[in-house]
């Protein structure tokens, strides 16, 4: 059986940063990534990021991915990366089962950092399985990774940052975004993103949602309607819109099934996106030496995923006897950065959610 000090599951910003900080401390790790490349969500983000410059704000997501990957490649002796490999089993004695192509590999380790990110939520409405209906993430992958347009006339459901940003990217790609629907009475994401769309002529319809999709073999039309303050459709407000694609962006939920599998204490916290592990201040779960970082322990941003990755990498290395020469200084800096990122009004729900999962 393969033996390695630390296994990091997920090669997104959180996983990559964790590996880097562990390696800086002298600890060897293996990053397991089920995709054909590492970078996680970042590889499809063509827009400039928010945050402060410490977390590469104003750099485009895809370029942040390159920076993080280059950082990791600086430690060829300490960091091993396996792509196209999924973690399919995880056991309490810290044995991890990997599936690479059709081959199962078992790895014995001393500590695990789970950084599997989050997956898109689905929305229930009539005919939501018609071809032409996509998640926003899938549309981004199509467009920005594979260079394929999802269609010509699109309606976006959801006005959170992702819905707004993906709408903008669709317009950049030459797609006609007919409108953005938002069930709540106010826009969900940052208003700078909303204003960016509105000045391009895209209406954001608050208190509106999709009622049903219509089409024979593929999407042809949607029916939308106005919602009352209890999110019920108001009779007689239905409107038909001709579209060939519909993009759903109604939130993400943590990909925490591996955590449930191994039996760590979990809790459903809606402000964090769903089922999340209970953690201590160093991101350790209820099972010793099993840590989490990034969206898997609360859907947030790449900026915080990066810092959480650094923090857990630093702490895990110290626990296994590899203390970073600047441990104390770095620890305080990472804590400080996380606090700073979450301290505004947009961080309020998140702060409450994070309190709920503190062990």
């Amino acid at each position: 059986m393969k033996q390695i000090d630390l296994v990091i599951i997920g090669g997104g910003p959180a996983g990559l940063s964790a590996a880097k900080m562990a390696a800086e401390s002298g600890l060897a790790s293996l990053i397991v990534e089920r995709n054909f490349n590492v970078g996680g969500q970042l590889v499809k983000q063509t827009h400039m990021f928010f945050g402060s410059e410490k977390q590469y704000a104003k750099t485009r997501g895809i370029d942040i991915a390159k920076i993080l990957v280059d950082d990791v490649l600086k430690f060829p002796d300490l960091i091993e990366i396996m792509t196209d490999t999924s973690v399919v089993g995880l056991y309490k004695d810290k044995v991890v089962t990997l599936l690479q192509k059709e081959k199962y590999i078992k790895v014995k380790t001393n500590a695990i950092i789970i950084a599997t990110g989050a997956s898109e939520k689905v929305l229930a409405f009539e005919n939501n399985d018609l071809p032409g209906i996509y998640g926003a993430g899938a549309v981004q992958t199509l467009m920005n990774v594979h260079g394929v347009l999802p269609g010509n006339d699109v309606v976006m459901v959801g006005s959170g940052n992702i819905g707004l940003i993906v709408s903008y990217q669709l317009i950049q790609a030459g797609v006609n975004v007919k409108c953005v629907l938002e069930a709540a009475s106010t826009i969900g994401g940052y208003k700078v993103h909303a204003s960016k769309l509105k000045r391009l002529g895209v209406d954001i319809l608050t208190s509106h949602s999709i009622k049903k999709a219509i089409g024979k073999n593929y999407l042809e039309k949607i029916v939308i309607g106005k919602l009352d303050d209890k999110w019920k459709f108001i009779e007689g407000t239905e409107e038909e819109i001709e579209v060939d694609s519909l993009c759903i962006s109604v939130g993400l939920s943590p990909l925490s099934n591996l955590l449930s599998m191994i039996g760590v204490d979990m809790k459903y916290v809606s402000t964090l996106g769903g089922l999340v592990p209970l953690i201590d201040k160093n991101h350790e779960t209820s099972i010793k030496n099993i840590f989490v970082a990034g969206d898997v322990c609360g859907v947030e941003e790449a900026s915080s995923a990066i810092v959480e990755g650094y923090l857990t990498g630093l702490v895990v290395a110290e626990k296994l006897g590899f203390k970073h020469p600047n441990y104390d200084e770095l620890y305080l800096d990472f804590k400080d950065q996380l606090h700073n990122l979450r301290s505004g009004p947009f961080g309020e729900k998140l702060r409450l959610g994070l309190q709920e999962i503190m062990r």
Partner: protein, 160 residues
């Protein structure tokens, strides 16, 4: 309303503009009204003219005495929320705006001037198009806009 359709009302917009006497020189206007965790405008300004401070959730404040209108913050803002404006004379204002759609305009062309609601309000003259590596794919477009639209103009659209 900003919160329901993304369009700030005029009174709100005016809070971001300096007194008209300052506008004889080009100045940065930050249309960033919310407290969001973001600060590249402040850290990219070589003249230390945008204040955000330790708490990156603070909305930016421009020091109009210090700002030179260089435009660096404009293409460094991920929200595309900053533009440069200058009152040239009694007829025209000069703007520098961020632009990320393609094709880019060409110097000397006439494009439509668009307001914050996405409506065409006037015609504008493209005076200059800057896009180097430093701009990282966000072009800086200098446009001449009739003065009466100084509080309305926000972007350009290709004429069809």
């Amino acid at each position: 309303m900003l919160n329901t359709n993304g369009v700030p009302d005029k009174a709100l917009i005016k809070t971001k503009f300096p007194d008209e006497k300052y506008l004889i020189k080009p100045l940065a206007i930050t249309e960033c009204y919310e407290k969001i965790p973001c600060n590249p405008c402040s850290t990219s300004c070589p003249f230390d003219a945008i204040y955000i401070g330790e708490d990156i959730n603070t909305a930016p404040i421009v020091d109009f005495e210090k700002c030179t209108g260089c435009g660096i913050c404009v293409y460094n803002c991920p929200g595309l929320a900053i533009f440069i404006v200058q009152k040239l004379n009694e007829e025209n204002a000069r703007f520098k705006i961020p632009y990320e759609l393609r094709p880019l305009p060409i110097k000397g062309e006439t494009w439509s001037g668009v307001n914050r609601a996405g409506e065409i309000i006037t015609k504008v003259l493209i005076e200059k198009v800057s896009l180097t590596n430093r701009h990282d794919r966000t072009a800086l477009i200098q446009v001449l806009v009739p003065l009466e639209y100084i509080n309305d103009f926000v972007t350009i659209r290709r004429q069809i």
